[in-house]
C-alpha cells in the first residue's frame, strides 16, 4: 500500500509516537514558561522592554540547525549540562524544540495579550479585581490568540528537522523501533536512500498530524464562543 516498501507498522507507530511525544512535551514546556513570560512582558514596564520584545521576535526566525548546534554544545560531556547525559535522547530533542517553539509561542501570545483593550483591564480592576484577576481576565479575552500561539508552536516543533537530527542522533533500536527518530528525520533517511514514495507517505502522516492538531484547536475555539460561560 502506498509503496511503503520495507516499512513495518511497529516502526511507523514508534516514529510517530516519538514525534508526538517530543513535540507535545516541547509545547507544554514552552507554554509553561512562555505564557507567564508573555504576561510579564505585557504587564510590566521595565527598561529594555523594546529590546526584549525584539529579541523574542528574532527568535522566531532562529535557524534550527544553529539551535541544534548550541544545544549539542550545552549537552556534550564538557558542556554546562553535560552531567545530565541527555545527548542523543528524546529529552535532548525536547530541549532543542523548546528553544525553537518558545519564541514563536511568546511572540504570538504577546501580540494577542497586548491586543486586549486597556479599557477591559481597567473595568476588571474597577470591578474589584486584584492584579491576578486582571491577568486572568486578559488571558481569557486573549484565548483565541493564545490557542493560535500554541498551534503555531506545535507546528514549529513537529515539522522541525535540523536540530532534532543533531541532538537526537536519529537513532533506531535493533528491533526496528525508534528511540530518537521522528517522522521528519525518518523522511530525510528515506529520501537519502532514494525511497521517495516512502518519504511522501511519511510526509502524509506528518501532514495529517498537523491537520488533526489544528482541527482540535479550531474545535476548542468553536466550543467556547465569546458568549461562553466561564
Amino acid at each position: 500500500m502506498f509503496g511503503l516498501g520495507d516499512l513495518n507498522l511497529t516502526y511507523l507507530v514508534s516514529i510517530t509516537l516519538v514525534s508526538l511525544y517530543v513535540s507535545t512535551a516541547a509545547v507544554l514546556v514552552s507554554a509553561t514558561l512562555g505564557l507567564p513570560m508573555a504576561l510579564a512582558v505585557s504587564f510590566r514596564d521595565f527598561r529594555g522592554k523594546a529590546v526584549v520584545t525584539s529579541i523574542i521576535s528574532t527568535g522566531m526566525g532562529f535557524p534550527s540547525v544553529v539551535v541544534g548546534l548550541l544545544v549539542l554544545l550545552a549537552l556534550s560531556r564538557s558542556g554546562p549540562l553535560g552531567e545530565f547525559e541527555l545527548l542523543f535522547t528524546p529529552e535532548a530533542m525536547i530541549l532543542s524544540q523548546t528553544v525553537l517553539a518558545l519564541p514563536v509561542l511568546v511572540s504570538v501570545a504577546l501580540s494577542a495579550i497586548q491586543s486586549v483593550p486597556q479599557d477591559l483591564r481597567d473595568a476588571a480592576f474597577a470591578s474589584g479585581g486584584t492584579s491576578t484577576d486582571v491577568a486572568l481576565l486578559v488571558v481569557r479575552e486573549a484565548r483565541y490568540g493564545i490557542v493560535t500561539a500554541l498551534l503555531a508552536a506545535y507546528g514549529r516543533a513537529i515539522s522541525e528537522v535540523g536540530s532534532v537530527l543533531i541532538v537526537g542522533g536519529n537513532i533506531v533500536f535493533s528491533d526496528g523501533t525508534s528511540f530518537t527518530r521522528t517522522l521528519t528525520t525518518a523522511i530525510t533517511v528515506e529520501a537519502r536512500k532514494g525511497n521517495i514514495e516512502t518519504g511522501i507517505a511519511l510526509g502524509g502522516i506528518l501532514l495529517a498530524l498537523v491537520l488533526a492538531v489544528n482541527a482540535l484547536g479550531a474545535r476548542f475555539r468553536d466550543r467556547t464562543p465569546s458568549g461562553g460561560r466561564r
Binding site: D119, S127, G128, L137, G227, R229, R230
Partner: protein, 257 residues
Amino acid sequence: MTDSIVATDITHGFENGAILEDVSLGVEPGEILAVVGPSGTGKTTLFRLLAMFDRPDSGVIEFDGDDVWSMSDARRLEVRRRIGMGFQNRSLFSASVADNVAYGLRVRRSWKTRVASAVSGLLGPADYDEAVTAALETVGMADKASRDAGSLSAGEAQRVAIARALAPDPDVLLLDEPTSNLDPRNTAVIEAAMRAARDRGIAVALATHDMQQARRVSDRTAVLLDGTCIESGATDRVFESPTDDRVRQFVEGKLVY
C-alpha cells in the same frame, strides 16, 4: 452626614504641567455630584484617582475618613470593592451579559468557590445571583441576561456596564461620561439608574461635559476647568448664580469648548 469619598488638595499630572491642581471635592451617601467641564480638563484623571488606579502626586483621598494610600494593600482592596465605576468607552468582557454583571461578585468570592463554580459551569448553565438580575432590572436589561455582550448596541452595552458596577452593591458609584455618544432613550435609562442608586443611599459621582445633564440629575455640581475646581455648590445655586465669571459664561453657552 459624613462624606463617603473625599479628595483634598489633589495635584496630579505628568512632567509637562499638572493635569489636576489642588482639587478638593467629596461625595455624600445619597447624593449625585456632577463634575462638569470640557473634555480634556482632567475629569477622567480625577475619577481614576478616586477609583485608586493611581496614587496622586500630592493630596489625600479619604474613604469614610481613612486615607486610602496610608492603609495596607488588603484594606485598600476592601475599600476599592466598595466603589463601582462606569467608563466612557465600551468596556464589556467577551462573555454573556449576566457573566459581565456577575464579574464583580465573582472576584469577591474565595478561590475555592470560584474554582468550584467554574467547574460546575462546564457541566451545565450556571445559576446567577439575584443581585445580577436585580442590577440588570435597574437598567432594563434583565431580559437580555443570556445575550452575548458583543451583540449589544452601544447604549445597551453602557447600561450593562452600569449594572456591572451596581451588582456588588457599592457605597460609591463613579460614572465617567456614561452617556456621551448615547441616544436620548438610553441616556434617560442611565439617568434613572443614577437616581435610583442615589435613592438607595449610594454616593454617585458623575463626570460629564453636558451642563444640561448635570442640571437634570445632580444635587451638587463642581466645575472643573483646566485642572482646577473653579466652582462648586448646590446645583441650582451653581447654575442660577455662579460666582465665577467663566462658569456663568459656560452656563449661558457663551463659553464653548
